[in-house]
């Protein structure tokens, strides 16, 4: 009846014809060789086309060889394995390319001078200017956003985990998740429509006030759901026995939360906050809309336009000057170093977090 039973009657055949261990490597080498010949001899293209052709040849070759020797099932398994690893290489290629371009182009201009001066009075023909004003902007905006979001987000998570019951809690949980998907440009438009156009004129003689603080508000809208979510996860990891132990000592619930639960979860909460701050530092769209940018140094986040590193990169990318791209890449490198060091520090902290592992 079935394939299995036929062979089973007499003697089980457990042996299978298998390709030798070096077969994939051999097929790979042959594929690269053939692809290189096919691409370079007629002069059809460069290394990229060669690798694409080689990859296709490898898949087809290995699949065909395996089908003949090992049969269809093993062949499909081999092709699937190759495709899965190919997906990886495909994703790492742009990451490598971005990293290489960043370092080579970014390091040309990145020096103490660039980090120490602003763009005030720099014309399209001047080979000078720097990102000091933008760094100030990024730090102030991200700092204020953190000050606003951390208490709000942590308390919100406390509500969801420790107090939330019924409809309201379920609704809040759901919309925290939905809110993580709000585009940053929409957050910017919201602060524009709400703060800049409606609230700020009340303090500014009826004229809208674009400011770093408005940018910080927009970043807060983006950071809030991330912080609530990560704090919520950390609070849920705090063992229930710890809470019960405190209740049994007669410690009131709010003190249990503030003195025992939150300190226990603190390392994880800090990790979540750092990741959220890192993402906020890289946001450009809201800053364009509500802080407008400013070539000069503006320490006051509450009055007047302010730049930020990401906005500076965007501006320089669109500036018609032969010196602008160099400045854009230098600022991009600065931004990436800032964001990645925050991210990596957060991940290292998370690895040492005993609660999560």
């Amino acid at each position: 009846m079935s394939v299995a039973s036929h062979s089973a009657r007499s003697r089980v055949t457990l042996k299978a014809r298998r390709l030798p261990g070096w077969a994939p490597a051999g097929v790979g080498a042959a594929a690269i060789l053939i692809a290189a010949l096919a691409v370079y001899l007629p002069g059809a293209g460069g290394p990229v086309l060669t690798s694409v052709v080689a990859a296709l040849l490898f898949l087809v070759g290995l699949g065909a060889l395996s089908t003949v020797v090992e049969g269809g099932r093993a062949a499909r398994n081999r092709v699937a394995t190759s495709l899965v690893y190919a997906a990886f290489v495909l994703a790492l290629a742009p990451l490598l390319s971005v990293a290489l371009t960043l370092v080579t182009k970014g390091s040309e201009r990145l020096n103490g001078y660039f980090l120490g001066v602003s763009m005030k009075g720099v014309s399209a023909f001047d080979n000078k200017g720097g990102a000091y004003h933008a760094i100030i902007g990024t730090l102030e905006q991200a700092g204020i956003a953190t000050l606003i979001t951390v208490p709000l987000g942590v308390l919100g998570a406390v509500y969801i985990v420790e107090y939330g019951r019924g409809r309201l809690a379920a609704l809040i949980r759901f919309f925290v998740d939905v809110m993580t998907g709000i585009p940053s440009i929409v957050a910017g438009l919201f602060i524009l429509a709400f703060w800049v156009l409606v609230v700020s004129p009340m303090f500014n003689n009826g004229r809208p006030e674009y400011s770093g603080f408005a940018a910080a508000l927009a970043l807060s809208v983006l950071m809030l759901p991330t912080i609530v979510r990560s704090t919520e996860e950390m609070l849920r990891l705090v063992p229930g026995a710890l809470r019960e132990g405190a209740y049994a000592l007669g410690i009131p619930k709010w003190k249990t939360i503030t003195k025992i639960v939150l300190p226990t979860a603190a390392p994880g909460i800090v990790t979540g906050v750092m990741l959220a701050v890192a993402r906020a530092c890289g946001e450009t769209a809201p800053v364009i809309l509500v802080a407008l940018g400013n070539p000069a140094i503006n320490f006051n986040p509450f009055s007047g336009g302010q730049s930020s590193l990401s906005l500076y990169v965007y501006e320089q990318a669109g500036t018609a000057s032969k010196y602008a791209p160099g400045r854009a890449w230098a600022a991009a490198l600065t931004l990436v170093v800032l964001v990645l060091s925050l991210t990596v520090a957060a991940k290292l902290l998370a690895r040492r977090n005993k609660l999560a592992r």
Binding site: R11, V12, L14, R18
Partner: protein, 258 residues
Amino acid sequence: MAKRIEAVNVSAYYGAFRAIDNISMTIEPKSVTALIGPSGCGKSTFLRSINRMHEVLPGAKVEGQLLIDGQNIYDRDIDVTAVRRTIGMVFQRPNPFPTMSIYDNVVAGLRLNGVRKKSLLDAACEKALRGANLWNEVKDRLNRPGAGLSGGQQQRLCIARAIAVEPQVVLMDEPCSALDPISTLAIEDLIAELKNEYTIVIVTHNMQQAARVSDRTGFFSIDKTGEPGRLIEYDDTAKIFTNPSVKRTEDYITGRFG
């Protein structure tokens, strides 16, 4: 339709930890062999090394020889999938595929082997479900999800799934430990019928069960935690439970040692 299994000096590891040490035993065809012993004694590990499921866990490996029909299943040119097709397995917790219907669960193995013809699949499905004593209960709802059955029915569905590919050997890893007494009885009856066609190896915590269903019994034990499990005694079930030749077996059987 049943094969003899010979284990020769089988040791199994989780990373650097040796879980079982130098097990040698011969399992007779068309019989039920029970493996008993305290928790952590390596009986499940040994069972899983009979169909090369042990190595599925990260860092796990097996040494020694396991012969089926004189072929060592750990030889280099052996096809693992063929081994597992020949030696079926039923797990501790019933594990029907949750996204599949009863019918699809039973024929899953055949489909993997390239059987596409509806009439063949239908026939095999009915045969396997009858073999697992489940046909009468589910024949009117073959297209309902397998997860909707009771625990005992799910376990019999898993047995049907395992025998649908017509293996030589069926391994059962504490198949009743998650079931109620009535479902357990149904499975035990089924085991008694299945041994007419298959070689059955069953791991169980329940000594009465071993005494009821098996022809031969192997007693595994460990000296202390962290030491590898060893086969202490292997004999006819009647002998093991009435007149064991090793003191440790007797202590375990009579409950003087957990």
